[in-house]
Symmetry: C2
Subunit: 269 residues, 2 copies
């Protein structure tokens, strides 16, 4: 894939502050970056906006809102407010989408937790639409269901998008989370215009932390070219985010890691 559509998801180089990550993109001709909220908080929103703008980068997404389910109505309302502030940050940065990690069930039935996810997103859809930011439901790998997301397949995310029925509500397709699905290409086609992001990394079965043991593009078994082709066929013309959460990489030479990721991205047919 061409460099012009490449975005660096900032957690690929998590140890770096925003200014360092932005500079690393600019030096490599990476035209876009995905910014995480904790990294925004480190410098403040106004400064984050100017760091990105001064470097001439696009912002492909802001990570993340969500974690909607809770047995406590008060807690659910707090999380919706938290996600609303994340929409504000995405709007300020000019990001087209806020990535939603929808959250675990927190001891509730999965069906009840999923209903709370739908309620939470639906309650923010108008606000997001007004801010010109889409809410991107990211299904996470089913191994993360107990800690991270009750939304565990692209089919389920597509169902939610249809159910809510707002153009501001979309899906984020992360290859790591969805590649195993025999219906992944069919569900990408079904998503169509509702695709609001595509993330790339690779899968070797995690042996440590399930959230941060991802493989370098090309080192695992994901057929990334097929997933990219399916996204293109569905109409996706936005950025491809390299998002490789890896504790191993974070302890190593991140410049070399990023160089390799860019080369591997460009090698995707």
């Amino acid at each position: 894939m061409e460099r012009a559509r490449l975005s660096l998801n900032q957690y690929t180089v998590k140890p770096w502050p925003l200014a360092h990550a932005v500079d690393a993109c600019a030096r490599r001709g990476i035209p876009s970056i995905s910014v995480w909220r904790d990294k925004i908080a480190e410098v403040g929103l106004a400064r984050a906006v100017s760091i990105v703008r001064d470097a001439g980068l696009r912002v492909s997404s802001v990570c993340r809102g969500g974690f909607f389910p809770s047995p406590s109505a008060h807690e659910r309302a707090k999380r919706i407010d938290h996600t609303r502030r994340a929409v504000d940050e995405a709007a300020a940065l000019g990001a087209p989408v806020l990535v939603l990690v929808c959250g675990p069930a927190e001891g509730q039935r999965l069906a009840d937790a999923r209903a709370q996810v739908i309620d939470g997103i639906a309650s923010l859809a108008q606000y997001a639409a007004s801010a010109n930011v889409r809410l991107g439901i990211e299904p996470l790998h089913p191994m993360m269901i107990a800690e991270r997301s009750v939304v565990a397949s692209l089919r389920e995310a597509n169902d939610m998008v249809e159910r809510i029925g707002s153009p501001a509500v979309a899906v984020v397709a992360d290859a790591y989370h969805i590649f195993w699905d025999a219906h992944v290409e069919e569900e990408l086609a079904r998503a169509g215009d509702a695709i609001a992001g595509v993330h790339l990394s690779d899968w070797t079965t995690p042996r440590g932390d399930v959230t941060a043991d991802r493989a370098m593009i090309g080192d695992g078994c994901i057929e990334l070219s097929a997933i990219v082709a399916a996204a293109e066929a569905a109409g996706w013309r936005g950025d491809y985010e390299i998002e490789i959460l890896s504790e191993t990489a974070w302890r190593g030479d991140l410049d070399a890691w990023l160089d390799l990721a860019v080369a591997r991205y460009e090698a995707i047919a």
Copy 2:
């Protein structure tokens, strides 16, 4: 659930030889057992049959055939032969189903590997029907796709059953592997008469070996009563296998572990 429909999957007590496991069932009034092929091989098939018959146990299933995909046609043929012999063993033991773990892609594209799974199963369907044994496609958890099974959802297993179109080809629904799916109840209903087995254990996110880090029934987050209710609604009237693969349990007091599993099974509403 009532003890009359309980089966002990032998790998719950993997360190025990067949005679010991059978005796443990008989002493507890567990009327059924699922037998693994390595345990059959330890004593020979004829002896295995007499051990089970003398104790008056049913055999709910034989584990396992499968591992169909390979880039080598010779290797694929060998695996089909291996699975054919497993059908013979299931027939000798009076087991209604041979559980199929379909195998990883072995470096091939997932779509090609899945086509080989379908070819392998289809080539054995008539043989299995003649032996009065069903071939039970067990979708495994998507985290196991690189090592164990390209069939990673009940939807996909149901698709394969429909595609092959033989009454001898069915699905095995293991709660551990499928509980995360927002469509699990719908897919169980879709399977209907094609359900050939239901396995119970529980999920706490594995932190060690992904194949043998399962939780005791009731210690995790799987809504087993909902899955049992969905299986019953789909028409399932066979045994429920307790199948808790746990390296931790295998190192401990297996009699106490089994007693607890039976109590927890009976507590499922």
